[in-house]
Amino acid sequence: MTAPEQAGATAGTMEFGRPAAQDDPYLVVENLTVQFPTHDGIVQAVTDLSYTVRSGQTLGIVGESGSGKSVSSMAVLGLHNPQSTRLSGSIRVGGTEVIGADQQTLRSLRGNDAAMIFQDPLTALHPFYAVGKQIAEAARMHNDISKAEARRRAIDMLDRVGIPQASSRVDDYPHQFSGGMRQRAMIAMALVNNPQLLIADEPTTALDVTVQAQILDLLQDLQQEYGSAIVMITHDLGVIAEVADDVLVMYGGRAVETGPTKAILTLPEMPYTWGLLSSVPDITGATDVRLIPIPGTPPSLLNPPTGCSFHPRCPHVDKVPGELCRTTLPELTQATHPGHRKRCHLVNPDEIYLKEVLPEAAPDLIDEETGELIPELQVQLEEIQQETHDHPTKAPGRSAPRGGDHVRADPEKP
């Protein structure tokens, strides 16, 4: 009850960075490239990545290890060591440019306008300080308040994220908390200054499934309450399906497919996304269905493959005429559904997906007798197609942004 009031009292500093129109995306990443020069050469961790996230919306970034999802989001808070990292492009958080910003600007941004939840709360919390003290420190960094006041806010936040007996647990050390409680404490620490942008870097990976669900629910509740923009980094498509409004699929440091969650999960158009979906077990499905792994290993970021970086692992390379996949990097182009973009040379991805990929990966979605898709999926597909017809230039549930920028997540500009 008191936290929003306190946050209101400090809103003066936050108003500064806020965009003029509520409709403008809070986080804008444009042509972000992150490189790490090493003795062996330049590691191209992220290449030409663009996306936007609006307040109150959640963007899910999926990809395997080394796909650049964590690296790109750490760049949003300027967490890379400037001496060992080459950054280019633009990242604007509430209108403030992050790339090239001085330490003072970055400090006032970190934990205040934009906060981060890390993957493993046991290593991400300091082992020698009480949980409450660490939360209070975050509060005191950005507000001119007394220690007692900061402690009161810490207790408030712990209570809010569902820690029982917060006023006594506030003095506990991280090792005295369970895994789920630690992640709750981590979230409390991230939210204590009421940030407009929350970056959650695999927040549920280190937790068991029941706790995972609780944490995701908690994040969604808090998002509704505070209206923050959330970037959810994960390799778990289940998490994406549950919380994300939009999805950005990353591969080899690039965006390979992006768009509204429903469109991407129902009718993906990029073979890597197909592979991701095919390798997810379905607990309601038949138990004798084999999971189909993506063959091969993630691409080297030191010597990325020529052309499409997924081509060495792609089972559909031969469906593209000539050597196109091997020689030419596909552009991120408009897919069937508006706002849905993919980086792939395939001409008829929908057909391949529905006729070849889906029957193999999810046979229970295909009617055995007729060989047709099951009715539920038919309905979903029709819905997506309907939206395409109804709003040819507009994705569902959002107004068109300025400047004819028609897509919600807009990776890569010409």
Binding site: L79, R107, L109, A115, L125, H126, F128
Partner: protein, 331 residues
Amino acid sequence: MLGYIVRRLMSAFLVVVLTSMFVFLLFFKGPSNPAEPLCNLNGKCTPEKLAILTEQLGYNDSVVHQYGIYVGGFFHDRTISFGPKYHCDAPCLGISFRTRNEVTSELVEKFPATLSIAVGGASIYLTLGVLLGTLAARRRGTLLDRSLVTFSVTVSAVPYYVIALMVWIYVSLQWKLIEDTSYHPITSDPLHWATGLALPWAVIGLTSSTAYARYSRGQMIETLGEDYVRTAVAKGVSERGVVIRHALRAAIVPIITIFGLDFAFLLTGTIFTEVIFQIDGVGKWAIQALRSPVDFPVVSATVLFGAVIIVLANLIVDLLYAVIDPRVRLA
């Protein structure tokens, strides 16, 4: 926590008892007759004279009986006779063969000098070492870092007594910057105390700080790469706050452990320092007792004293661990 302390105290006590037995056996039941050096002290040692001394000192009695008397001396006064009779107040560690003084009172007299050297030197090397190590870790890979590491390795490679001798020869004898190196009690003349010990402090502090700098640098590089340090940065903590409150706070724990044991080792006698700078401390006292004829009561006392200090230091470090690392509380 209390149970833990009691358990640790008991095991520490056991170690001290075992050490005292070992020391006693080593020096008084060794291959040579401990009465012999005493006999040699005053003129020619005849077999009759040796026999009388051996009998007087009780060396003909059983080991257990002798050890009982030796330990008894810790708790009540003893009378020791070799030639004349000497009274030895409790806690009695014997009478020095050479000076004919009580060993305990000599130890009490010598210890403040060693303690002063140890406290001053250790404060310098801990502060300087951690400071330089932290600086090098923050500027890892730069010229400053590399020259610090190179300098540190070079200094560590030169034997300590060479450095101490050079400093004494040049600073004290040649350039006469600080001529007087000696111990004066801090209670009587604090300024003289400090100037007299300045050179030993500087030498111990500078030479040992290099090892601490390397060690702190390694620890700091490790903790600066920890997830919780990244969390602190992501919270908006200033660089100084990140380095000191978050990284150094974690890095200091193993440093304190090593420091505790190093400091205890200094307390048992800074032999080279005391001998080179002519300071009457425990180290010089011990090394003099080893000169022929060997002053057995003094030697055994210094060894036992050293053992007690080391055992105590270990105990204190372990208890301190519980204070500085919340994870080992209630262990």
